[in-house]
Amino acid sequence: MNLINIKNLKKEYTTGDVITPVLNDINFKIDKGEFVAIMGPSGSGKSTLMHILSFLERGTDGVYEFKGQDIKDFDDNYLAELRNKEIGFVFQSFNLLPRTTVLDNVKLPLTYSKLKNQEALAKKSLESVGMSHRLNYYTNQISGGEKQRVAIARALVCDPAVIFADEPTGNLDSKSGNTVMFLLQQLNDQGRTIILVTHETDTANHAKRIIRIKDGNILSDEQVKKRTIAEADKDLIK
């Protein structure tokens, strides 16, 4: 059974009388433990595809099976629950809550879950990204690279099946970006499925497989031949 199975997926946006097709007949499967980069220029539909894969919106037509189940059968509340349990998000602009501590930011997804020992889970998650020393810092007191590591900790805290990283290095210097990619590769090595959305080939080459999209169609879907292995900056991760 595939983790994700997309069959003939279509997405159109309707504004008044105008119908804008965004995705045309998309087909692919992703298995557990893969590291897939979805690549394409802006306007290609890669973000829309990520939104559909992560249950933030639904396709217009076609089938999306997650863990063998067609998500058409799920209502919005169940999709919210699925996002909480199965999906972790890492955004380009971090999306951390202002005026809130690092620890509380990581605890945010837990407030919508039934998991026990939330404090311990959040601390463990922060430890895995090397941020234990900043638990009670406010998010405006830490650097961009640290913010993205907190965001990764937040994505991990509910132990999701898939992590979606949408241009995770876009707002970072190369050193911090490298650390983020190192962390994502490390998570993948531990068996976590990662789906990376990017328009940069250098970033995409950190994945094991690249799906290229243009104008709503898949251009290519192939394994990465010369994979880039990120090395963490020793100063950043202690």
């Binding site: 939104h51 992560s54 933030l56 919106e57 919005d76 509340n77 919210a80 629950e81 996002r83 909480n84 349990k85 998000f89 955004f91 999306n95 809550l97 005026r99 809130t100 945010l108 997804p109 407030t111 919508y112 879950s113 937040r154 509910c158």
Partner: protein, 421 residues
């Protein structure tokens, strides 16, 4: 998401914006404080009126000169001379007014009182010995004037405790037997009528908005003839033996006075007969109506406060669009988002209500202290109902004005919300 963590979250959000939170709730605070104060003052005023009626004495019928409508007040400023001493004497005829146990006729005026080099401006009540049978009071020193002193027009005077205090406390002289001079405040001539102090009445505070301690009592004829130079009365009090006989007595008083004044038709009556308890009821009705009106004004302030909450919540939702998007992305349902913002609004208004209750209670208490200092028997009453009402209205305002922004927040599309800059 359990309700406890929602409350913790909401409190954190409100604390992060202390200044704005306080400004937002100001309207609710003022409204709730207003309601509490007004209801408390209304209750205080009612207890004061009731207290004054029972203090004067029960089963009293009150006659004053001039015709008034059943529910209206006497016309102010007009001097009506239709009630005279012979009317009071006619009412004393037990064959004609069988249930009367005492009939007390009075006139009153402003007076200037001097003793030695001390001079005090006060009011005097020219009254007869029946006063002590009609109105409740106790003597501090000496006694009230007797029927003989009253009928004979003896030059004697009984002092209210405050007047006795003002004239005699400095020198420590026993007021009994001292001669004071009394003249009408309207007359400018020196001297005045010399009157011998035969009694001092124990302090009894105010009654019907007149301080009963700041008053002197002189025989009726002395007041009428020697001080005011008049022959009419200003009031007659009739004490009735039993509450059940009040209506019958009012009827017989009417009949007697009509015969005295040779009046055929009630329409031509030149006097008014009232049950004092009814008069108190009337005052209570007026305070009730006034309270209701003021509570309505305070309620408007609550609505304005609620609109303030609405305003701020709409702004808050717009300001926190990204946060809402993020929360939805990490698993918040529409319901969770709606509840979070609704609870935030309710906590805001409840906090406002809570502060308002504290301010209202404190201000009501201070007013009661002030009224007591002014000599009124003012009770400090904050009814449980007014507090329950305030809490209820605060919570309701939060729900009513928080619902729209909360639903708006819940409906936000997470993708748009995450993109929102």
């Amino acid at each position: 998401m359990n309700s406890f963590s929602v409350i913790k979250l909401v409190i954190k959000n409100l604390r992060a914006r202390k200044g704005r939170t306080l400004l937002t709730i100001l309207g609710i605070t003022i409204g709730v404080a207003g309601v509490i104060i007004i209801i408390s003052l209304g209750a205080g005023a009612q207890s004061l009126i009731l207290g004054q009626v029972t203090k004067l004495g029960s089963n009293l019928i009150y006659v004053n000169p001039g015709k008034t409508a059943e529910s209206g007040a006497p016309i102010p400023g007009l001097i009506i001379t239709s009630l005279v001493n012979s009317d009071a004497n006619a009412l004393r005829d037990l064959n004609r007014v069988p249930y009367a146990t005492a009939v007390n006729a009075s006139t009153q005026g402003a007076a200037n009182v001097t003793w030695g080099n001390k001079s005090v401006d006060t009011n005097f009540l020219g009254t007869d010995s029946e006063y002590s049978k009609t109105i409740n009071f106790t003597m501090k020193l000496g006694q009230f004037f007797s029927a003989a002193e009253d009928i004979g027009g003896a030059n004697v005077v009984v002092l209210g405790s405050a007047i006795s205090e003002k004239l005699f406390s400095d020198s420590g002289v026993n007021p009994l037997g001292q001669v004071i001079k009394v003249k009408s405040a309207l007359q400018d001539k020196a001297g005045g009528v010399p009157l011998r102090v035969i009694g001092v009445i124990e302090s009894r505070g105010s009654s019907f908005f007149q301080n009963q301690d700041d008053l002197i009592f002189i025989p009726l004829v002395v007041g009428q003839q020697q001080i005011l130079g008049i022959h009419h009365l200003q009031s007659i009090y009739i004490k009735v033996d039993d509450a059940a006989n009040m209506d019958a007595t009012i009827a017989s008083v009417n009949t007697v006075l009509k015969q005295q004044h040779r009046i055929q038709n009630d329409i031509n009556n030149d006097f008014t007969v009232r049950n004092l308890a009814d008069a108190a009821d009337l005052l209570s009705t007026i305070t009730d109506a006034l309270s209701l009106f003021l509570v309505a004004m305070a309620a408007i302030s609550l609505v304005v406060g609620g609109i303030g909450i609405l305003n701020i919540m709409v702004a808050t939702v717009a300001e926190r669009t990204r946060e809402i998007g993020l929360r939805k992305a990490v698993g918040a349902t529409k319901k969770a988002i709606r509840n979070q913002f609704l609870l935030e609004a309710v906590l805001l208004t409840s906090l406002g209500g809570f502060i308002g209750i504290i301010i209202g209670v404190v201000v009501s208490y201070l007013i009661s202290l002030l009224m007591k200092n002014l000599g009124y028997d003012w009770e400090f009453i904050v009814s449980l109902i007014s507090i329950v009402l305030s809490v209820g209205v605060s919570v309701f305002t939060g729900i009513a004005f928080g619902l729209f922004p909360a639903i708006k927040a819940a409906k936000l599309d997470p993708i748009d919300a995450l993109r929102y800059e």
